[in-house]
């Protein structure tokens, strides 16, 4: 018997270098980046998952994947500059290199929703983590009942993916409704909070699956409105935001009750977290 040499384990904390292939400006403070790996292929991901993106020397933040899961040529991330790290990532020039770990986390139950009416409800930047689900649903829309995308933003200038929303809205197999909190009179669309859109589209509540992503207040009120409309709590899925640092359930920061949002979430089932959502500072 003697001291055994430590065995090497694959290190989930080690970022891999990815190059910024393209940058698209979405709004004044939001950009979408196409990233390609320097050394490997582009892994598969499931709609709803996120990556940890590292800006050299500045730090690392979680960013949801916002691209088409069927596109294996790159990872697409939509980033809003809100802090030092996200500003560094959002400011990355084409050709520059970022670190990336992932994908991590739970996924939207897109395939399990087949056969149901599907409500995709997004608020603000929350449309980005839902876009991969929308791509997957629209690629096989015949598998679903009625499909609706409901999207709320602060004002018309802050809406994401407006061109795509228009393209989706022109399709016969999906209803798109967009609302803003306030607007100037040049905006002819809906004004009001997202839950108000629920009453304005046709769907069959007992046979509906809903996917929700946005600020927590918007999630709470939207889920309440869906329940009031008759959607089952276990068919409502929402993506939570907490402080994710390690993304692998080891650092403790993102705990939300018994859940590690990085690992058990970010997509969580409403019936399992409804009571917690009502508690302040949990």
């Amino acid at each position: 018997m003697s001291a055994a040499p430590p065995a090497a384990l694959a290190d989930p904390m080690l970022p891999a270098p990815w190059r910024v292939r393209a940058v698209r400006r979405e709004t004044a403070d939001v950009v979408t980046l196409d990233l390609v790996p320097l050394a490997s292929g582009v892994p598969c991901f499931a709609p709803g998952q996120f990556n940890m993106i590292y800006a050299y020397g500045v730090g690392e933040v979680p960013v949801s994947l916002s691209g088409d899961p069927a596109d294996r040529s790159c990872f697409v991330h939509t980033v809003r500059a809100v802090g030092a790290v996200s500003a560094a990532i959002a400011g990355a020039a084409p050709g520059s290199v970022l670190g990336l770990r992932g994908p991590f986390g739970s996924a939207w139950p897109v395939d399990a929703a087949a056969g149901h009416d599907l409500l995709i409800v997004a608020g603000g930047l929350g449309l980005a983590p839902l876009r991969p689900a929308i791509y997957r649903v629209l690629a096989r829309s015949e598998r679903f009942g009625r499909i609706a995308v409901l999207y709320g933003g602060r004002g018309p200038a802050e809406l994401l993916f407006r061109d795509e929303l228009a393209v989706w809205g022109a399709r016969a197999d999906v209803t798109v409704a967009v609302t803003v909190d306030h607007a100037d009179p040049s905006w002819h669309g809906h004004v009001g909070v997202v839950p108000r859109l629920i009453g304005q589209i046709g769907f069959d509540p007992p046979n509906t699956v809903a996917l929700l992503c946005g600020p927590e207040v918007m999630l709470r009120f939207t889920a309440t409105a869906l329940r009031a409309a008759g959607v089952a709590a276990e068919r409502i899925h929402l993506s939570m935001e907490r402080n994710m640092k390690c993304a692998i359930g080891l650092c403790g920061h993102c705990q939300f009750g018994p859940d590690f949002v990085c690992q058990d979430g970010p997509v969580l089932r409403y019936d399992r977290i409804a009571a917690r959502l009502a508690v302040r500072e949990i």
Binding site: G153, H188, H190, V191, V193, R196, Q200, G214
Partner: protein, 154 residues
């Protein structure tokens, strides 16, 4: 008149109302049409009519000097516009402007108030339809106040 009665009682706001009660509203109602950009009413004006939108879209606007007007809410088919006709001094608190071709039922406020005063059964029926809408809109306005999509204060 039969057509107006059928259409009015078919409006979502009056869904399920006892036809005998609903018929009493017909005498107060008229059909109105607004082109995009036309105002249903303006802030400060007499709130002498209660509107039920049949189709189209109506923007509720507030304005302040030297600033563009702000749309605070938009309403569509099946929804009702305004409650100031119920509350003295019966003046509108905002502008209502059609943003699409809009068809509405206008119910004369004087006529409506008179019937509700005379028949509390009808009055109560109107109240329990109005109040949930007002509460939902107040809650929505509170949520908008949070500015949840905006940048948090530094």
């Amino acid at each position: 008149m039969e057509t107006l009665e059928r259409l009015l009682l078919g409006h979502e706001f009056l869904a399920g109302i006892d036809p005998a009660l609903g018929r009493r509203l017909v005498g107060c109602a008229r059909n109105l049409r607004f082109a995009p950009g036309e105002y249903l009413f303006r802030e400060g004006g007499p709130a002498d009519e209660f509107y039920l939108i049949r189709e189209g879209r109506v923007a509720l606007e507030l304005h302040a000097p030297a600033r563009p007007p702000i749309v605070i809410e938009s309403l569509g088919g099946g929804e009702m516009v305004g409650a100031s006709w119920l509350v003295p001094p019966y003046r509108w608190g905002f502008d209502a402007r059609a943003t699409a071709d809009t068809r509405v039922f206008g119910l004369d406020a004087h006529c409506l108030r008179g019937k509700c005063d005379a028949d509390h059964h009808l009055g109560y029926e109107m109240m329990r339809r109005l109040l949930p809408v007002m509460v939902r809109r107040m809650q929505a306005a509170r949520q908008q106040m949070l500015d949840v999509y905006g940048h948090p204060p530094a």
